[in-house]
């Protein structure tokens, strides 16, 4: 398909474009951090239901591991998986390799160091710093920084920013060199690269010295545009048909890029903050959900007539389940960004459920779908067990849905108790059943990922046997579902 659209060129052969070992490395790193994050999440959830076996051990401090949970999922799992998917899709979209292979590998290593150091810094940093008065008197903390989603210790921030900047440059080069019109996926990628660098700089550095904020915008401005861009790339390839409406794609993109950054302040809806940005955020949020509807409509119209693919084509199933969940999070966002409803559920588990639905149910599932599609291609071997793939999907989709629904209900319960001046203990004791359900959902979610890891290892072993028989012939640049 790509060859007929753009015409083949000498260098535009897959093996010259895509750095396959690097894609594999990024995916494996992503899955490693996914496991770490899920274990950390389990620890926190066990603490809340009073079953924590590691109670009282400093380096197993739930407070610290909670921050490891969010940061390893965002920068360990999602960021690594996105970067791997970009290393596959950008060269194939632009028919040019990234700027520099060596640079790519350096960025990979730097990124693992950043995330690893973040996790270690958060867990061990405070303990280390308390060991001597000299360490304590240093003007910065070894441990977490006080910015939500930006807890990366301040001493690691510069390295992280450098890594992101280098990655952006590496990817922008092939995009800059492309002639002619850019496909919609590339629009999203360009926006994401610019925003991510700027967001990280402002989110990590500004609150420390000037204004408060959260790095919540990292979700809207880093992950969302990359995720949508990847969907625009993979879905047409897998379905074997183009996106339904180019006009809607234009509207969707330009609406999103204008409104997403403005909506960010909705995280500060209630509080002693200036009214004008807050009101603007509310309007922007409602408006952005209308724009998102156009994007969702576009994708559902694209699969119209190919519904059978949802059964036969696993990656498509991951993508569309994720899109349904995305629609749900948009509904959530519309109501939670309003003063009446928002004030009631603020500080409750509603937001936690929303975060899990978005982070895993949407971005996670899209990325797992991409991995489900790409690993067989990268290893020239079909999945060893289709059954395990199915278990992976169903355990993941159902667990995250149950978790999100459970936490949304918990949030409604908590908000109501608080707003009706019920005693604090009532809101906590009453949350226990919800937290127990969430713990069980988390276990099933973990089980689903373990199915995937097991299947991955078996498939890899099978591929090693095959590779020794030299199967590079027969691989064309074209991709089919």
């Amino acid at each position: 398909m790509i060859d007929t659209l753009f015409g083949p060129s000498d260098d535009a052969r897959h093996e010259n474009l895509v750095d396959e070992p690097l894609v594999v490395a990024y995916f494996v790193a992503a899955l490693g951090f996914l496991l770490v994050s899920m274990l950390a999440g389990m620890l926190m959830t066990l603490q809340l239901v009073s079953w924590n076996p590691l109670q009282g051990i400093e380096l197993a401090s739930v407070g610290r591991w909670r921050m490891v949970h969010t940061n390893t999922i965002a920068y360990g799992f999602l960021a690594n998986a996105f970067l791997g998917a970009l290393h596959w899709s950008i060269p194939r979209l632009t028919l040019r390799p990234v700027l520099n292979r060596r640079l790519s590998r350096i960025v990979f290593v730097v990124w693992q160091v950043v995330v690893g150091a973040t996790a270690v810094g958060i867990v061990v940093g405070p303990t280390l710093q308390a060991m001597s008065r000299d360490l304590e008197s240093l003007p910065f903390s070894f441990g977490a920084q006080g910015v939500e989603w930006g807890e990366t210790p301040t001493w690691i921030d510069p390295l992280a920013l450098a890594g992101l900047l280098l990655a952006a440059i590496n990817f922008m080069a092939p995009i800059a060199r492309t002639k002619g019109a850019l496909y919609v996926a590339l629009w999203y990628f360009v926006a994401a690269f610019v925003w991510t660098t700027l967001t990280y700089a402002t989110g990590a550095l500004l609150p420390q010295v000037w204004l408060s904020g959260s790095a919540g915008p990292v979700v809207g401005l880093f992950f969302a545009p990359l995720a949508w861009g990847l969907m625009y790339y993979f879905v047409p390839i897998l379905l074997g048909k183009p996106i339904w409406s180019h006009a809607l794609a234009l509207v969707g993109f330009w609406g999103l890029v204008l409104l997403y950054p403005l909506a960010g302040v909705y995280h500060f809806l209630v509080g002693p903050f200036p009214v004008l940005p807050r009101g603007g955020a509310m309007l922007a949020t409602v408006a952005v959900e209308m724009v998102v509807v156009t994007v969702i409509v576009n994708f559902f119209a694209t699969i119209r007539g190919s519904g059978r693919q949802l059964v036969t084509n696993l990656p498509i199933r991951w993508f569309y389940a994720g899109t349904v969940f995305y629609a749900l999070t948009c509904l959530q966002r519309v109501v939670q960004a309003t003063p009446t409803f928002g004030a009631m559920i603020q500080f409750s588990d509603w937001g936690v459920g929303h975060a899990h639905l978005l982070t895993f149910g949407v971005f996670g599932m899209w990325l797992l779908g991409i991995m489900t599609y790409l690993f067989p291609r990268l290893w020239r071997t079909e999945w060893t067990s289709r059954k395990l793939c199915e278990w992976h999907f169903w355990l993941s989709a159902s667990s995250v849905f149950v978790m999100a629904a459970d936490l949304a209900l918990a949030g409604l319960f908590q908000g109501n108790v608080w707003a009706s001046l019920g005693p604090w203990d009532v809101s906590v004791d009453g949350s226990m059943p919800f937290w127990r359900v969430r713990a069980i959902a988390g276990l099933f979610l973990l089980a689903g990922q373990l199915c995937f890891f097991y299947n991955l290892v078996r498939t890899w072993r099978a591929s090693r046997g095959r590779r020794s028989a030299a199967t590079d012939k027969g691989l064309d640049g074209n991709v089919q579902g």
């Binding site: 070894f142 010295v209 603007g280 019920g422 005693p423």
Partner: protein, 217 residues
């Protein structure tokens, strides 16, 4: 412009981001630019409610206090506040406790006067710990509600004073027992006692009678 690279880069990427920063961030910052920002030393010098609590700590835990801070003074109080705040951030306390009393959802009846912008204009609020989740109660008016000994026992093992609390134990803030808080423990207690101690209405107690549950009779 809509599909070409410069349009994407400059308008969508840079332009809209800058627009958002200007309208959301800069505008707000300009509106508070006249407010002075207090340093920790200024807080230590001017807040007598807090100094009282700090001296009380020295009185209750004389050996521990002498060992870790010496004597209560504005210098050691500033030290304790800085360290206490750092412990609060690095232990992730702000992920279960908020520091923002809102004028909605009856927050004020539960915790006291709604938080105002001026309360966050100091070095100990860089960044401000508004919080996004309340598993535990809001802490912005926590100062003075409980004695230092309550806090010591509570940090050591919350369930000792708060039945059924899901808060984890923090024995590493102590030297083996709840009546022996170490440097971090003393600092954190000081920090928590600071919260809300700057108010005219300090200390503020809950205005409602909690409903007694049958087990408590």
């Amino acid at each position: 412009m809509f599909k070409d690279k410069s349009g994407l880069l400059l308008v969508a990427g840079l332009g809209f981001f800058v627009l958002a920063v200007l309208s959301s961030v800069l505008l707000g910052a300009l509106m508070v630019r006249a407010r002075p920002e207090a340093t920790v030393e200024q807080i230590a010098e001017q807040n007598s409610n807090l100094m009282y609590q700090f001296e009380d700590l020295a009185y209750r835990y004389p050996d521990q206090f002498a060992r870790y801070f010496g004597t209560p003074s504005t210098e050691t109080l500033a030290e304790a506040l800085r360290l206490g705040r750092r412990v609060y951030v690095s232990e992730g306390c702000w992920h279960c406790h908020s520091q923002l009393v809102r004028p909605v959802a009856r927050d004020e009846e539960r915790w006291g006067p709604a938080s105002t912008a001026g309360e966050y204009q100091n070095e100990l609020q860089r960044p401000a710990m508004f919080g996004t989740r309340r598993i535990g109660p809001d802490l912005s008016r926590e100062g003075g509600r409980h004695g230092n000994d309550w806090h010591a026992v509570h940090f050591f093992r919350p369930t000792l004073v708060s039945t059924g609390s899901p808060m984890p134990n923090y024995p590493w803030l102590f030297d083996g027992a709840p009546d022996r808080p170490n440097r971090r423990g003393l600092a954190l207690i000081t920090y928590v006692q600071w919260l809300g101690s700057w108010l005219e209405s300090y200390p503020y107690y809950e205005a409602h009678e909690p409903i007694r549950r049958p087990e408590q009779e």
